[in-house]
Amino acid sequence: MLDIKGLEVSLEEEEKQILKGVDLAIQPGEVHAIMGPNGSGKSTLSYVLSGKDGYEVTGGSATLNGDDILVMEPEERAAAGLFLAFQYPVEIPGVGNMTFLRTAVNAQRKSRGEEELSAGEFLKIIRAKAKTLEIDADMLKRPVNVGFSGGEKKRNEILQMAMLEPKMCILDETDSGLDVDAMKLVSHGVNALRDEGRSFLVITHYQRLLDHIKPDVVHIMANGRIIKSGGPELALEVENNGYADLLAEVA
């Protein structure tokens, strides 16, 4: 599904290398988790994969189902099946949440040569999906993320994911700022989407989330590299001992 090889990334504005050769291969249907100290480059990886400006790829490659995504526009990557649940979802005053979602869904359908959804069809689908995430009609009407609590923003990200039905889902600290109930809702939303054809990359600090969304592989990222990969037990090790031992191991 997603193949990242030797990915090196620097900031465009200043002379600073952030990713120093990242290797990662995710097969269809797999869930991978990335953990790692703050500032290790996890969000940068997710941004570079989804095409945000400001980063320069100085080496390596990233392909989605064999296609080089690094040369694509962000909207092309989305149409190709990539989705990023933002660590900090953006507020867009003046654009209604529903309008936003319908525009996005139809833009993707159009780019795949599919028929656009009518207002009625769309409404029916979104109402059902919003309900399971406990997103009420008011939240759908309000401007995108404006005045949403931290938890509401994250649930809104999952709603978008559910509506867009991407193939490769990247979740950047979707659990941060969530209370236990919200975490359950979000995990439930994610698990509902799990299937053989869909893969997940879950970036998190906490084992907690991984109790709900069970990963196949756990990676530890530090200082722009993946320093260790293993099974779910690696997350437990981090939870119990922190990163210090792991960092010392590679040093």
């Binding site: 962000p74 909207e75 989305a78 003046g94 996005a104 995108v144 978008q160």
Partner: protein, 425 residues
């Protein structure tokens, strides 16, 4: 250039003459005297420092090619009474019958011999009130020389909007129209205006809103790229009355819209707003002066401009709160979205307050499109151009929300969406 201008302006004023003989003659004579006294403006005037009036002053209107966007007429689906002017000349064929319940509509040019008391008491009167503290010579010129216009007296609620439609058929037309509107106690009227009107258009609208009356004005200025317009709205508000005026502007090499509002009765509400989208050779100036002279009134100025390819936007807005106008709530916001570095927004927001118990706020900002929002939309699959259009509409929506009619604001919103989509395809 300025030497020529300095010579020709007084010549032009000397040559003017009031030839009308009817009820408005006296007011026109006074206006001409005012104009000669003030002189026509030049870029040296403080009030015109952001907008060069040279082409508005010129003896002849600079030519403006006709533009046919090939789109359905605006507000076509809105049930309304249509009054059509072509290059400033009334078109009876194209206009509806002027009878409508609770409203009397007459034409300025038709009524010379008549005795229209109410209009006589207003024609040039609100314009004259608006000449202090700042001179507005084009408005005086208009009062003196207007060739036509409508006189509308509203005596009760009017069931459908009255629509002034301005068509442009000659590329050298120079139109001067003057409308007078009086809304009596308990009356309410929605008035729409749309169309380019002429190569050069000078329009004045004087609106007197009695106690408890309401006046809603929704305007879309014509899209002819080369047209020029200088317009003035003078509004006087009585107790518990409402005034709302919204203007959408796209295209036009030069537009100066002045709006002068006087809140003279307690508990009144005035809202003046505008959305402008400029691309290329486009200079749009909104100049607003709101005077609070009564208790507990609210005024709102909401102006949004989206500019690109060297387009220029200007906002000069003032809130004057007179002594004793306690509990005034004055709001003013002027913002521009600059889509590139060639475009420019010039703003002069002002507050002058002589009462101590008031809440006034004003803000003016100018900025680029929000890159994070743009990326967020793109990352959901929305193509760049469409994402930008969505953000442009979002930016303008605060101004559109000032319109108190969903039907009219939807019509404008859809038109804007079409324009944006067409431009980007």
């Amino acid at each position: 250039m300025s030497a020529v201008e300095a010579k020709s302006v007084p010549d032009r004023l000397e040559a003017l003459e009031v030839t009308t003989t009817g009820w408005s003659a006296e007011a026109r004579g006074h206006a001409l005297a005012r104009l000669r006294n003030a002189g026509l403006p030049s870029k040296r005037d403080e009030y015109w420092k952001y907008t060069d009036p040279t082409t508005l002053n010129a003896d002849d209107a600079p030519t403006a090619a006709l533009f046919n966007a090939g789109e359905k007429p605006l507000f076509d689906d809105v049930e309304r009474l249509k009054i059509v002017f072509v290059d400033g000349v009334f078109d009876a064929e194209a206009s509806d019958d002027l009878t409508l319940e609770n409203v009397e509509i007459a034409r300025l040019a038709d009524t010379e011999g008549a005795d229209i008391h109410w209009a006589k008491g207003l024609y040039g009167v609100l314009e004259n009130n608006g000449q202090t503290p700042v001179k507005r010579p084009f408005a005086a010129l208009n009062t003196a020389m207007a060739t036509d216009g409508v006189l509308i007296r509203v005596t009760g609620p009017v069931a459908k909007p009255v629509s002034l439609i301005y068509r442009h058929a000659s590329d050298t037309s120079d139109a001067v129209l003057h409308h007078v509107i009086r809304v009596d106690d308990g009356g309410s009227l929605t008035l729409t205006e749309n169309g380019p009107a002429a190569a050069r258009f000078n329009k004045v609208m004087e609106v007197d809103i009695a106690d408890g009356a309401a006046f809603h004005h929704v305007r879309a200025q014509g899209r002819d790229h080369e047209r020029r317009a200088v317009t003035h709205m003078f509004a006087r508000l009585g107790k518990e009355s409402t005034f709302r005026s919204f203007t959408l502007t796209a295209n036009g090499v030069l537009t100066r819209n002045e709006c002068v509002i006087e809140l003279t009765g307690d508990d009144a509400l005035a809202s003046v707003s505008g959305a402008a989208v400029g691309d290329g050779v486009f200079h749009h100036d909104d100049t607003v002066f709101v005077t609070h002279d009564a208790l507990n009134c609210e005024s709102r100025q909401v102006f949004k401009k989206v500019l690109r390819n060297g387009a220029v936007g200007v906002f000069q807005g003032k809130i004057l709160v007179k002594e004793g106008a306690q509990k005034t709530d004055g709001y003013q916001i002027s913002q521009s979205l600059l889509l590139d570095e060639d475009s420019q927004f010039l703003a002069k927001p002002e507050l002058e307050i002589y009462a101590d118990d008031v809440a006034c706020s004003h803000g003016s900002t100018s900025g680029a499109i929000d890159e994070d929002a743009l990326f967020y939309l793109q990352s959901r699959g929305v193509p760049l151009q469409q994402a930008q259009d969505l953000l442009v509409l979002a930016f303008l929506s605060e101004a559109l929300e000032e319109i108190d009619s969903e039907e009219l604001s939807d019509a404008l919103r859809h038109r804007l969406e079409d324009w944006l989509a067409r431009r980007s395809s």
